[in-house]
Amino acid sequence: MSVLAVAGGQLLADSVISFDLGALARNFWALTIDGLTYGAIYALVAVGYTLVYGVLRLINFAHSEIFMLGMFGQYATLMLLGFGPSGNAYSEGTMMTIVYLGIAMLGGMAVAGGAAVGLERVAYRPLRKRGAPSLVFLITAIGASFVIQEFVHFVLPKLTGGTLGGVNAQQPIRLVQASDVISFANTSISNIEIVIVVSALTLAFAADVFINRTKFGRGIRAVAQDPVTATLMGVSRERIIMLTFLIGGILAGAAALLYTLRVPSGILYSGGFILGIKAFCAAVLGGIGNLRGALLGGLLLGVMELYGQALFGTEWRDVVAFVLLILVLMFRPTGILGESLGRARA
């Protein structure tokens, strides 16, 4: 939506930013639904940031690369199933498409979950054993992020004979042809949007139940609230840390599949970066360390971003996300729902 094309658009600054309330009003529901699909994906990735922060007080910046590996994981799974990039979407029938997508999602989850646990083992655990200061963890996280990116950039193509990774984006494998299944007013909801929102909300709900209602979830909250006392209760902190990375990775892997359904522009070694930062914003927005905060923050960020895009123009979308973050933090420094994983229960 270029500035000049906006009918009735008011020019605030010369061809740079517009303010078009009409565009927002006309497309309100379409934007909301679109925003929710992005938001649901942000939310799933945000859970990984928030859980690890809750348990280790560490911003795991390499989580965006875990997400990226998840995209390659689902892609590789689809290739193993015999699919390849093609101009048109495959038509396998509804049932089989769901089965294939399910298998691909499991593939993405396995790769991302495994990578997250591996990252913890190789990068963070040795530092913990040596009692490194928190700044060192942060730098390591940023370093790990580059290492994983460059692995997919240079090493993965060598390992797979050029099939995966490399300089160029992987052409998308499309199993689903987008088609509108629900229409109302001037809004329509596509099958893909329904799949994304329903899957993401189901997984988010499962994560919430796991954290709040199960023994291991209690263990995670106990370590987040008071690691020493948790140890006195017989909780192995190391095992809880591993579990936390695993859950974060699995959800990022699931989000990766959903993301490639929504944005089938091909996948690339650097493809996790922006989404990762947005998800991190979502986690901070909702209150980092707080599971429900991450979910709420994700959905909110996704929707506000698209409202902002309609109001100010497409190129301002990312700016809106960060300005929103700054505004919320000015008034609520601990995020919308506040900090602490333990206080996630209302």
């Binding site: 209690r218 609230q225 020493v228 140890t231 209760m233 909780v235 192995s236 229960r345």
Partner: protein, 239 residues
Amino acid sequence: MPLLELKDMSVAYGRIEAVRGISITVEEGELVTLIGANGAGKTTTMRAISGIRPISAGSIWFDGNDISKMKAHERVLHGVIQAPEGRGVFPGMTVLENLEMGAYARVFKTKAEHDATLGRVFELFPRLEERKSQVGGTMSGGEQQMLAIGRALMARPRLLLLDEPSMGLAPMVIQQIFKIITEINDSGTTILLVEQNAQQALSRSDRAYILETGEVVTTGEGKALLADPAVKQAYLGVA
């Protein structure tokens, strides 16, 4: 064979030795107290027994096994359970969730076994049953202490370590807590207690050790120490 035996155990924070070669035994079924002033090394000793603080010399024996190198969370599996100083109630969890945390490392064979353990805790602390869905962080000091002890009981301790259960509590509540501690001990649980409230602790203990600057200076039966003029002067505020 004592249930717990510390042999010349030392604990250091950097170069400073907080505990210097102490030897302490606790027999099965006993209630033993460590008393001493602030900084005498009582809490450090408790942390070392639970494995949260590594020891720098000597050894810790539990039930005939050297547990000096055992990881903290594994000691819980063997029945070494601590209600820590400051209570350590998980602030964001409900009373019931806190109690369930106590049983984290324990595998109940049947639901009935679980319910019986919980029932026993509620019997000792009826207040906890009334407040079971209240969030831990919003409870009073006395209630939090009850919760900390109740939570420790959920693990079915073989040795219950209580670090200053009377700290910061009103005299009435202290009475109540000590009464329950005696009750727990009478029903067969071995207890090692750390206290600054020497009067209460000594009168209810089988034996006691007095710590000063990281060393055991006196040991004897609780009631005997209570009558000792030197102890009276130093710890009971009697001239």
